[in-house]
Symmetry: C2
């Protein structure tokens, strides 16, 4: 993608990327996005699940949702996905930092009204949470489909930013006696908790038992 004046990184441009594959990989790994829109000058930032299909990002919610009602009018939106990769423990407060990867998408969303398109977006939203899940569960009924708004945001004006590696210190600070380095962080799944009404002999699918992000 080409940077635009709005996505061109002013601070630490060496941390930035406009590479499509880099942007897509971060969007796919992040479980949720933070979606920003403004109403009468007041911004709102709300967390929601998303799914990417090619150059399109989908979000969904109840047709009664204020957020979705606002967005489908074509108001400017910003979608940000952030992955936290680690604590950067420098020998000074000033250089203490975080390793992360993030993507910012600017644009305007439109409502998906074509039913086939909407069904495939719905499936992508399930598959984003847990690949393989869509085949095992009941697809949306017509009633559920009409109770849900699905919005599509083209991924055409976007940038990625990342910090990696260890602390970068002021030269004199390397002599300080404190420990310094990186504490890597990741999202980990704990043992699945079966639903209270699950039949006791229901097999635990492989993709649930060995979930990783």
């Amino acid at each position: 993608m080409k940077p635009t004046p709005r996505t061109q990184l002013a601070r630490k441009p060496d941390r930035g990327s406009y590479d499509r594959a880099t942007v897509h990989a971060i969007l796919d790994e992040g479980l949720i996005c933070h979606l920003g829109f403004a109403v009468e000058g007041q911004p709102y930032v709300l967390p929601t699940t998303h799914a990417r299909v090619e150059d399109r990002l989908y979000v969904h919610g109840s047709v009664a949702s204020r957020m979705l009602k606002t967005l489908k009018g074509g108001t400017p939106v910003c979608v940000t996905v952030t992955l936290i990769d680690g604590l950067v423990l420098a020998r000074s407060a000033f250089h203490t930092s975080m390793n992360y990867r993030s993507v910012v998408i600017l644009g305007a969303a439109s409502e998906v009204t074509d039913l086939e398109h909407k069904r495939s977006a719905f499936n992508a939203l399930v598959e984003h949470i847990l690949p393989g899940r869509g085949a095992h569960i009941r697809a949306p009924s017509d009633h559920e489909m009409s109770a849900t708004s699905v919005l599509c945001l083209p991924i055409t004006e976007a940038s990625a930013k990342a910090r990696t590696g260890g602390p970068v210190e002021a030269e004199a600070d390397y002599a300080l006696p404190c420990w310094a380095g990186v504490v890597p962080l990741s999202v980990q799944a704990q043992a699945p908790i079966p639903d209270a009404r699950l039949a006791p002999d229901t097999p635990l699918p492989h993709e649930v038992a060995f979930y990783t992000r």
Copy 2:
């Protein structure tokens, strides 16, 4: 806190809370926030670290940062912190969901100019990442202090929202044969990676070795 027309939850109000302790606990557990502001109607949502002290939220960054320059002018801001607690794997796509806790704060930030206040906010930002770290590392120099803007947002207009528990299904779906339940998720630390220039006999502090969030 009292809900305002802007923080009153319209959707699923049973998931909401305006309880100060609930709001503070989520802000303290979240490593980063997503900060939203609008410039000429275009919202921007950027990830950044934060720290809470009493009823105040602090963020910081370079004095050259476009975001901080915009915010210190008192523009309306929204700060959102989200914790992802698990995948809710229902027997239908429609009821597939996530367990989460989130806080949304609305307001306007102001720059911290008093030096003692700014130093204590700087320390809180380090302690937010790793409690106990402040005592071991070099405090900011005067030059570093003047190169950094610290902003303060009062936590007076805020709401928390959470989903907990297992899937809530349409009654007929309980008969479906697929596995259903929750996959709990948490942020986990991996083995610390020492800085390449760390003296080999530097002890690993307890709070680094046993980091949990």
